[in-house]
Amino acid sequence: MKKTLSILFIIFYASYGWTRPLSVDEVAPGIFVHFGKHQLPDTINHGAIANIGFIIGKRCVAVIDTGGNPDEGRALREAIRKQTDKSVCYVINTHVHPDHIYGNSAFKQDKPRFIGHHNLARAINSRASFYIARAPEQLGINLTEADLVVPDKGVKKHLVIDIGDRKLMLTAHPTAHTDNDLTVYDQQTDTMWLSDLLFLEHIPIIDGSLKGWIAVMERLGKKSYQRVIPGHGPLVTHWPEAMQAQHTYLNVLLKEIRIFIKQGGFLEDAVTRIGYSQKNKWHLFDDFHKKNVTTSFAELEWED
């Protein structure tokens, strides 16, 4: 009976061109997260791989990341509609990566304020032409400039927004995962939405600064949170223990690359030799590890 019903639903949604709501978990009162899968963005998942979600206040809803394509954004919007009639007043983007921002255009109709790190607009603008050009072959979707919504408000350091008896503290971090990472802290439930500043199971991706990321982690590691939401991986209830794997991975890179550079080693050799002790600890290691070594090597060359 249940099966027939859900098939009917699919037919119903499909035939009316409506979007099925995205599956979300209520991880704390009023905080909903859709947990992504550890996959490479491709033409089958269309880039919908990241953890995204929303927080409901007394007055309105804050969306935190919108997904890997406009359809995922629309499905997230439907998921919100299933929970509340309150309007979406903020769309917060945690950083520039496609799996977190490509759903932005789905929320334009709600006329929210789009908020991001003060470097986010620059990052979107400088990557836009490349992202738009690659979307069809890489993700099997068509994107336009209208889909890449730049924030109306850039956060320099901190910004507190109120969604109705619920204050969210936004923090812009120095260069770490990218040069535009923003976190969202919900005081009411002591929940920290770290997004891609924390990877679990899925190999961390360095697209900013290795040293910067370690520094940000060490600062966050001194704090206590009841709950932490990573950009990729399951909900965290043991902080800071949960960041240990990522901390180890980044520090192995730092240590081994420094030695390699001191010994006069070259980039093309570093990528085949460094960090392989960490290989079986991560999903997608073969897909991103060499890129991580490359980015880090280029950074550490300028240390002295």
Binding site: I124, N125, S126
Partner: protein, 275 residues
Amino acid sequence: MKKIIWLIPLLIGLPALSQAARDEYAWNNELKEEFFAGKKIIESNDVIDIEVPYRAEDPALVPLKIISKIPQTKDRYIKRILMVVDKNPYPFVGEFEFTPQSGKADLAMRVRVNTYSFVRAIAELNDGSLHMAKQFVKASGGCSAPIGADLDAAMKRLGKMKFKFGDDLQIGKPSQAQLLISHPNITGMQMDQVTRFVKKSHFMDKLTVTYNNKPVLTAKTDIAISADPNFRFYFIPEGKGELKAEFSDISCETPTSRKVCKSISSYSKSQTITP
């Protein structure tokens, strides 16, 4: 039976598809004419070869090596190597001039590769003959775009240079030097939704390395060179001497045209060497 009939066009279709991804249309119909109008180019790996990863893990930073197969002698030497990435928005990567004093016309650098493309190097010998080597590169890297990771850090140290040497500096023998240049090499490929950002390109356009005032490497470069340009090249130490690098940068109105550009500044760095 029906199945087999269906399979035939599929099987014929497959190689055609993979060919399409590796096409050389841009080179054969535009680029060759643009750079070498009316000239004969020999395609072989006898003079130079290219080493580059088949799968580029980071499209912003693809390590690329040109390996010369002939020594730089007074009678016969590689005078110039031109590099092109067929499918980049601005395919010209750079033009590098060598002399017999270079010792060896090997060159390593890091380039931006926008998509699946052939990367090619054409060497011109002092007798005027042209020799081309090419490699196919699959640029992947998922979320990363072919720009630098940390623009602010690169801007802060813009113009800084460093030389590095191995332990094998030998008098009278071709020896390798590495030159690290700090420059964001901004492509200028920005979207113009927000006008407050610079949309102009800003990149290193000329580089000269001399050893005891004699040119070792002279280059014209463009936006396909990665942020923080990095070159490895050869020279022949003659006892105590001075290696000197000078470069200049320019800014152009659009990323894909070099008609309206203005020069910004020039930078230099010298280092005394005692092999």
